[in-house]
Amino acid sequence: MWKKNRFRYLIHILTIGDKILILCLLFLSIISGVVLKRTHKEAKYCIISVNGRDTYKLLLSEPKTIKIKGAIGKSTVEIKDRSVRILDSPCPLKICMHQGKIKASGETIICVPNRVMIRITGKELVDAITK
């Protein structure tokens, strides 16, 4: 009999305060989820920095292939289908090339020998435009 009424027992032990608390938290969880989704910054730009200085800021929506002069040579960066990759690099291990495409906000490609760093961001970085 006790087993049969277990669920009813569980409902019974909850006070009104509990129920309000649970409903409030569920509501808060949904609301904060919706708000965060709204304010989520979409990946918009890729920022290429050489030697620690932001040199290029490019729109991801415009397909483009550019050559970047790094510390030991020229790296070729390709922007295509809202993603970025390094096509060619003078570095010995080619780690940056093997990493492939990046497309989400916050992702990075770093080429240490050539001192090139590519990162994707959704923020409107004013400072990054200045060369």
């Binding site: 909850l14 006070t15 509990d18 938290l25």
Partner: protein
Amino acid sequence: MFKTKLPLLAGIAIGIYAIETLIPKPLPWLRLGLSNAVILFVLVVYGLKYGLLVSILRTMVGSLLTGMFLNPFFFFGLSGGIVSTCVMWVFYVIGKRVFSLVGISIIGALAHNMIQLFLAYLIYIKRAEVFYLLPVFILLSVITGIITGVSTIYLKKVFKFALTPSN
């Protein structure tokens, strides 16, 4: 004796903590927090001092057993345990009439998760992206809080002997 029951309860908490890490889960730091039921029980029956004692003991010995002693997650767990124990105590003292043990355990789980999220933001990640986890954490706190609270109530039924500290 009162002094022999407390280590027994701490042992139960540690056992639950150790077994919980064996359960496969989607995220490595996610846990049900059933050992929190024991801590809430100790808190209700014996008071804040012993609740904190069991909470700290649980994290220290439990992390020794699971091989996490003194790594960053250990400190996250320790601070989360201490803060959630204090918060649960405050809400138990103030809101005994308003909340049942289920509500208090939900608040405790929430405090535990929020403190860890905040610490992760402060020490580790330092990027606002951490707070995208907030809705997930609130939802998880409610679910685990209900489970833990209900187990505390059952624990209170089973451990009748512990309810009389004098004998």
